[in-house]
Structure formats: structure tokens, C-alpha cells
Symmetry: C2
Subunit: 540 residues, 2 copies
């Protein structure tokens, strides 16, 4: 199948804008980096994923490992909480990026966005090494960089050169994707031997010799300093340290703060869960990849409280369950990956963590995070117990014991879920009226059925409108009487609408409508009075 030249992500972003799934936020003011708005179709899709998660977590949670239905309640906590919350959770001290300032250019860089290579000249004395510090830049700059490398290295083998990495992917893949790799790598490799090192792995002495990415002199960069990712604001009339508050970087902590209230006021006891859907904010230094890494985003998090000895059992249960769930939402097995985080890479308090990763077009052939399932032990409750001086133990009246429950946290990105499902659904087929179409799971599709009078006369609009008014009570439908039927099909394909129902001459004479299936593009005749049950069956 021939594919268009533009990259898949570019086409998807374009489709999202053109059809009203996702728009850049504040676009008429030039946009705001890291913020996106959901248009009519995107909002419906996002709401459908949210509702499916809520149904499968809160209303109809799965059967647990003990054969009993799991018990989960939902809550909705404030984005702004008491600042002590983030002291206790560790976000105030630990939720930070290392930043480097340049005294010459007055610019600031994320330290981990500077990749460093040890570069050895091939055609010079092998003993004479020139350490060059650079990272990846826009394709059009590659030739210039290569030329600069050769020139500088030949002139002076003891200077340190740095470049800000293009904040997208690892460089090799990026170059390969853009078809520039061979050109770039062959030039580099003819002159240098490259050994990759992270900038943050340099010692202070080496760092002090680096020429800043936008500077001309060496030694202009400061040592890396911590920059907190939480947005801050001020409550009340004065703006000072005492009135400083933070926009939550995750919904989870709101759950921990109310765990005791829920325990005291709902009829729950461990094992039980508290679920929440809501917005979170992270002041990312380099937001990127469309709605993958944004500064404002939505999460679907659930904290599951269990007796300490049952932790690993429930951890395994929830990892498997969440993998199953994303599969049920339509992600194919080949594109989902369970990434078990190794002992050295987990948060110190976590006894086990698995990322559920998706093969996004911009990570392909690798995977990127979609959901994290973490066995957080009793870390959070213990921290809040200490900082709030409130006893958060669960008292088991029957067993006459008391303990701080352990917590398993399946934390999914709702915004990322929209992205993964759009990536998965995106189809390209030049033989169709609309080469681009979305193969969304029917129950998640923003519009369930398009309802068309074949022509806008002869009594067809009246029948179609009546059907629309009836169907819309149970399914999100769209009425469309404009343009040719082929164009209307094409519009619905782009929106991912699974069914198109056409009222035609046959409807007027024999009360049959034509229903066209998005995936097969096949049409079938269905009796007008059977359309509702037809849809209900197909969408259940």
C-alpha cells in the first residue's frame, strides 16, 4: 500500500486539527507551548475513554484474585491542596529537572538534554583526543555542525563544545527517520570515532570547560541545578512563601489525603480502591510529541489499599488487568509492552513497578509510557501520617490488628490514552474515498452513527430527522444532509464513525435503510424500526 511522504505523526496532528479532535491552545494568540485544547470530536472521544475507565473501575470493577468483585469508590479532589502535601509526598524536594544556565547567552538548558560524545580524530595522532560536547539539532543544521566539528577539532584538540539536543528522540533514530542519517553519519565517521556520554556524567572540571550551546567562550555554563516541575501560585491577597501553593503534578496525592475520610464514611475496608480522574500540571521544560508530553494533562489514577502481606498478589493482578483493559479499548497486543522496571531504576520506596508502554509513531520501534502500575508499599500513607500527625492506620476489628495498608497504583494517562488510541486507529488506504480513516473501537467513537437523507428532498429529510431525533437519545449521532453521499461517508470515516445510515428511496417505499459499515465499507439493508436495536447490539 503506498504511503504518503509526510510522517505518520504529522498526518495525525493534521487530521486532529482538521476534524476537530485536538487544536493548539490559544492558537489565535500564537499558541502556548505545551497546552492543547480538545475539539468536539476529541472531547467526545476523551469522555468516552474516561467513562469506560470509570465504569470498569468504579461501577463494575473486575473480579479480584479471590473470586470476589473488587471494591472501588470514586472521588474528586482539588487541584490545589495544602502545600504540606507536596512536602510529605516528596514532590517539593525531588520532583525536579536539572537545569544548566549559560552566563554568556543568558539561556537555560535541561542538563539531560545535552548528550555528550567523546570524539577522537581518525586522521590525527590517535593519542591526541578532542573531547567534543554536542547533541542533536535540526536536520538543516547538521551539515553546518559537521563542518564546524572538523574545523574546530583540527585547530585545537583541547576545547569543549556543547550543543543542545533536539528534544525529540535519540539522535540516531531521528536522523534515520528523516533520511539524513547516512549523510550525517558517514561524514562524522570518516573523521571521528564517537563515544557517547551524558553531559551530566562529566565531572565539574570538564563541565567548566564547555562552550555553551549558544555561546562563543568556554566556561560559561553553570553546574546543573534543580528546577521543580510543579507550577506554583499564591492563595489569598499576599504573594509570599506562606501563601505559596502548587498545582498538583498528579491526582494520586489527593486520594491519599482523603483515604482516612473515605475509610470512615464509606463501607469499605482493605482490599479496596479509590479512583479519580482529573487534570494535573507539570511545568515541563520541553513539552513535545503532540499531546504526549504536555504541561496540562488528564490522569485516571486508582490507589488500591491492601493488607501488607497481599501486596505482590495485587500488584500482579493490576498489571495484568490494566494490560487487558487497554487491549479491550482497542490497542493491539503487538503495540503494548509490559516494561518491568528493574530494582535499580524504581523509586526507592517501590517494591515493584511496571510501565504499560505503547509503540507511538515517535518512539517506534521503541515504546513510550501510557500507564504506570506501581506497588508503592506504605510510603505515601506513612509520609502523610508523619507530616500531618494523623493516625492513618486501618483498624481491623475482626482480626484485632492495625496496620498501614500497602498501595498498588495503576496510574493511566487519559490524554495519552486519547493519543495511543488515535495512533492505533489511524488507517491509510488510497482506495477509499477518504484515504485517512480512524478504526476506533465502535463504543469509543465520538459519533456512533451518521444519519443521511440520500437527497435533501422527496420526504427523505423528514424521515431522516425523525430517525435522528429518536436515535440521539441513546447514541451520539450526527445528522448530515450536505454534499454527495460519498463525501459524507468520507467525513464520517475520518471521524471514526462506525455506522452510516442512509435514508433513500427504498426507505420511502419499503421502510428499509442502508447501513454502511466503516471497517468493511460494505452496506446492508436494515428495517427502519430495527435500526435502534441494530446499533445497540453492534455497540454493546
Amino acid at each position: 500500500m503506498p504511503q504518503p511522504e509526510t510522517s505518520l505523526m504529522n498526518r495525525l496532528v493534521s487530521l486532529c486539527k482538521r476534524r476537530g479532535f485536538v487544536y493548539p491552545a490559544s492558537e489565535i494568540y500564537g499558541g502556548l507551548n505545551g497546552f492543547w485544547d480538545f475539539g468536539p470530536l476529541g472531547t467526545q472521544l476523551k469522555n468516552n475513554i474516561r467513562d469506560a475507565w470509570w465504569r470498569d473501575m468504579v461501577d463494575c470493577p473486575p473480579i479480584g484474585p479471590d473470586g470476589q468483585p473488587v471494591s472501588i469508590v470514586g472521588i474528586d479532589t482539588s487541584i490545589i491542596q495544602h502545600p504540606k502535601t507536596w512536602e510529605a509526598s516528596g514532590h517539593l524536594s525531588g520532583f525536579a529537572d536539572l537545569m544548566v544556565d549559560c552566563k554568556e547567552s543568558k539561556k537555560r538548558y535541561r542538563a539531560d538534554h545535552i548528550n555528550v560524545f567523546e570524539v577522537t580524530m581518525r586522521d590525527e595522532d590517535k593519542e591526541e583526543k578532542a573531547r567534543l560536547f554536542f547533541s542533536y539539532v535540526e536536520p538543516e543544521q547538521l551539515n553546518e555542525i559537521v563542518a564546524g566539528l572538523i574545523k574546530r577539532t583540527k585547530k585545537d584538540s583541547q576545547y569543549y563544545l556543547s550543543f543542545e539536543r533536539h528534544p525529540r528522540n535519540d539522535s540516531e533514530k531521528y536522523c534515520r527517520e528523516e533520511g539524513l542519517a547516512n549523510n550525517f553519519l558517514s561524514k562524522i565517521q570518516s573523521d571521528f570515532i564517537l563515544i557517547e556520554r551524558p553531559f551530566t556524567a562529566l565531572n565539574a572540571e570538564e563541565q567548566a570547560k564547555v562552550i555553551g550551546p549558544d555561546a562563543k567562550n568556554a566556561g560559561t555554563l553553570t553546574e546543573p541545578r534543580s528546577f521543580n516541575l510543579m507550577f506554583n501560585s499564591y492563595v489569598g491577597v499576599f504573594q509570599n512563601e506562606e501563601s505559596k501553593v502548587y498545582l498538583r503534578p498528579e491526582t494520586a496525592q489527593g486520594i491519599f489525603l482523603q483515604y482516612k475520610n473515605v475509610l470512615d464514611t464509606s463501607r469499605v475496608k482493605p482490599p479496596f480502591g479509590i479512583a479519580q480522574v482529573g487534570k494535573s500540571f507539570r511545568n515541563e521544560v520541553t513539552p513535545r510529541n503532540f499531546i504526549f508530553r504536555t504541561r496540562e494533562f488528564e490522569q485516571m489514577e486508582m490507589e488500591f489499599f491492601v493488607p501488607p502481606e497481599d501486596g505482590m498478589k495485587w500488584y500482579e493482578f493490576w498489571v495484568a488487568e490494566r494490560l487487558r483493559w487497554w487491549g479491550e479499548m482497542g490497542l493491539s497486543k503487538a503495540n503494548i509492552f509490559r516494561h518491568e522496571i528493574g530494582d535499580g531504576d524504581r523509586a526507592f520506596y517501590s517494591a515493584a513497578t511496571a510501565d504499560i508502554e505503547y509503540k507511538y509513531p515517535f518512539t517506534d520501534p521503541n515504546f513510550g509510557e501510557l500507564e504506570g502500575v506501581a506497588y508503592r508499599t506504605d510510603y505515601d500513607l506513612k509520609q502523610h501520617q508523619t507530616f500531618s500527625k494523623t493516625n492513618l492506620e486501618y483498624i481491623d476489628q475482626e482480626a484485632k490488628t492495625r496496620y498501614l495498608p500497602h498501595v498498588i497504583e495503576p496510574a493511566a494517562g487519559l490524554t495519552r490514552g486519547v493519543l495511543a488510541l488515535l495512533c492505533e486507529a489511524y488507517q491509510y488506504d488510497e482506495s477509499r474515498a477518504s484515504p485517512e480513516w480512524l478504526k476506533l473501537k465502535p463504543s469509543l467513537a465520538p459519533i456512533k452513527a451518521g444519519i443521511f437523507p440520500l437527497v435533501n428532498k422527496d420526504g427523505m429529510p423528514e424521515v431522516a430527522e425523525k430517525l435522528f431525533m429518536d436515535l440521539r437519545k441513546t447514541h451520539t449521532c450526527q445528522y448530515d444532509a450536505k454534499q454527495s453521499i460519498g463525501k459524507r461517508y468520507a467525513r464520517m470515516d475520518e471521524a471514526g464513525t462506525p455506522f452510516c445510515i442512509t435514508i433513500d428511496g427504498d426507505t420511502l417505499t419499503s421502510q428499509n435503510v442502508t447501513i454502511r459499515n466503516r471497517d468493511t465499507a460494505q452496506q446492508e439493508k436494515v428495517a427502519l424500526d430495527q435500526v435502534k436495536s441494530y446499533l445497540s447490539t453492534k455497540l454493546s
Copy 2:
């Protein structure tokens, strides 16, 4: 019917906490003034109202004045938008409270929270007036104030005394409610003639003579200065004027920013609407009345774009429609009031505005805002067109005209909706197992049915669990096998659950369950296999 001594609001707040409707945010850290969290029941109730609004606005909007179904699409925009947004909307310059600082006490007061009375001594020379500036304080301070008034006025007739008003209600009502009015007023009236004036109505010379509420000397208060109600934050690594952003104080502006994108990418044309549900933030100086005036809250706003000549027609339509809708949600006619805002009191750009007000317990016998329906003309689009230099006109291809649509905005408070519906639903009846119970509209109730095995043995739990697992697929249900059946009814009454289904001996022998109706407390027998359709019928 005997009523308890505690005020209705106190009882409601207590019930909300006890049953998990609403908790103070960050309660284990002492709370955060103006922030509340929704517990399991409150979240379900809020979601149900949100979904009902979305259904009646986006999925199944009403029939318009022209007999055609209204066309509305939903969107979901970012809380943080480009700061130019708030310049254009007028929020940066106009969305402010007047504040007064006290140089002596270092405290800050809202200027409009200081009520001023001109006080004339009765028993002294009628010509000699003492102007006393005070407002209302806690009941236990009333006697002290009266004593102070008498003493100071007798000693010196030319000083100015101020008190910070208790930010609850108007004083007379407050006193009456607390049963202290007669005591207070009789003392005052025996010595003084009171004439009320707002503090902000004093001229600068008078203001300069005032003794601050927490000060001992006169002339310590500054003149009123503007304080913006928008929370601010900073995007990116530097915190300066250029990186300053705001948390939206209303969801509406996000709609105006994307109006053009929606017009270009959806099949809509005026008259059409764009709807949004989401959080907004206002740094209220004095949050009050439970979840009525909070700093973080949720709105359900819809902007309806119409040809300019049809503005008043649609304004009338939406005011009537929104009144009808709140009635359908369960608010009684006697408790809703259409408050038409007079010419002098509207925003300068508004051609007409009506507040839909509810008689909250703390405003009774008066009303407080629940929703505002404003005919905003083309003010917002015109402002954004000017500030963004983007043409926002609608081009009517058929009529060969172009114009900026006029906008009708029904802007409802979702958080306030929860409060109004809880106030309306609250019942007190000492003859019931739970004297306090919630008469919520069944379809909005957090739990639709409680499912109880009469005793936790004899095979009843198995039948009840099976029924629960079946019913929960279509209705939010709760299974409860603990305590006496009376206590379980009582718990469900407090939660507003319309139906309780008991599996008893009769179920085992003749396959009948007992369904108890919340409102009538009557029970009826229903066949086990008819329960699902029974619920569906009663809840539709």
C-alpha cells in the same frame, strides 16, 4: 414537625462530611480555606449532574424557537491559556476586588465587606452626630460592641470606628437566625439611630479618619486598591512578567478562543452553541457558605452564537430553557427565581442578563446565584478579534453576508448545582429511622439501588450478589450485608438512594424480592427477574 436546633446549613455540611459527599480539602493538614473535595457520593452526584447537562446540551439539545433541534458541540480547553486572553476579555483590568490595607495591624480587608452606619445618639443633643463605622461580627462579640459603641460615642463624637463585616449575610438576618437579633437591636436602638452606608461610599477625607478594624489609632487604613481575583503562575523556567500566566476564572473564554476552529472544522453555522464543563479558579478574598463560594470550582458553560438580529429571541429562549432544566433536575419553582439584571447593573456590553437564583438556606428569604444567562452581544469575539488580529467573522455563503455573531451565554455552576440540589433534597423527619434523608431526583442519586440479603446466610447472600452483579452493569448499585435491615435503609436514605432491594426468605421460595421506596418508605414485592426492568422504568 419538630426541627433540630442546629441550623440547616450546619446539618447539611455535617451530613455531607459524614456520608462522603463533600470533605474539606487537605483536612489532615488543617484544610485550605476555599477548597473542598468531593467524596464517593458527592462525586457520583456531581458526575450525574454533569452528564445530565451534557446530554441535554450536546447530545440531545432542546428544540429551538424555530422548531428545529438546536445544534451544540462540546469542547474541552486548557485551564491555562495565553495571557493575552485575559487582556482581551477584560479580566486583567476589571476582574478585581477593592482591598484596604491597615498600616497599624498589617491586615488587609475587602472594602465591600465593611458596612458603615451613620449613628446618631438618641439621648444626647440631636444635632451632635457621631459617625461610627462598624460591621457585623460573631454573635458572642455583639454585647462587647454595643458596650464599646456607647462608651466611645459618649466620650467623643468625632471619631470614626470601623469593624470588618462577618462575611456571611446581611446582619439583621444573621442575628435573627441566631436568635440574638432582639437583644442586639434593642440595645442599639435605645441609644442610637442607625443609617446604613457602604464603606466605599465614604469620601477620602472620611476614610482617612477611620480607625481600622484591628487598630487603635485613626487614619491607619489606605484608600481601597484593586486586587485581581485571578490566580497567577509561571510557565517555563523563569518566573517573570513575560512568563506569567493565569488560571482561568471562567471556562467561557476558552470557547471564544476556539470558536473559529470549531466553525472551520465542524459542520455548524449560526445559530449554534459550544459547550464546556470544567474547573475554574478565583482567588476569593473571603470564600464562604460551604461550596457556594470556593476558590476552585466547576462550571457548565455554553456559548450560543447567533445572527445579531436574533439575539433577544435566543436570550429569552435560553433563560426559559435553563429555568425549565433546573426544575427538571428537581429544584422546586418556589425556590428558583429569575432575577432580571437592570440596565444600570449589567456589564456595559451586555444587552440583557438574567440570573437564575436559588433560595439557599444561607440566603433565605433571599436568593443566591446558581446560573447566569447573559446576552453578551459580540463583545468577546470583537475583543479577541482586535487583540489577536484574527478575523473572527462568520461568512454566510448563501446570504452573501459576513458578521460577528452575537452570543447568549447560559453559564451554570456545577459545584453550586450540587449544593442547590442537596439543599433542595434535604429532608428532616424524626419519625424515620434516619431523621435526615435526601429526596434527590432518582436519576441523579449517587446510588440507584441498595441490594441487601436480609440475613447473611441461608443462601441469601448468593442470590443478592448475583442480582448485584447483574444490576451494576446498568445502574450504580451498592451491596450491603451488614447490620439490621432498618439501619441499612437509614444509610441509604441518607445517601438519597431511591430503592432498596431486599433478598429475603420469600425470594428463596417464590423468587420475589422486596423493594422499598425511599420517598414513601413503602415496600412492594417484585419478581426477581423483573427487578432490572422495574429499575429502568422508575429511573428513566
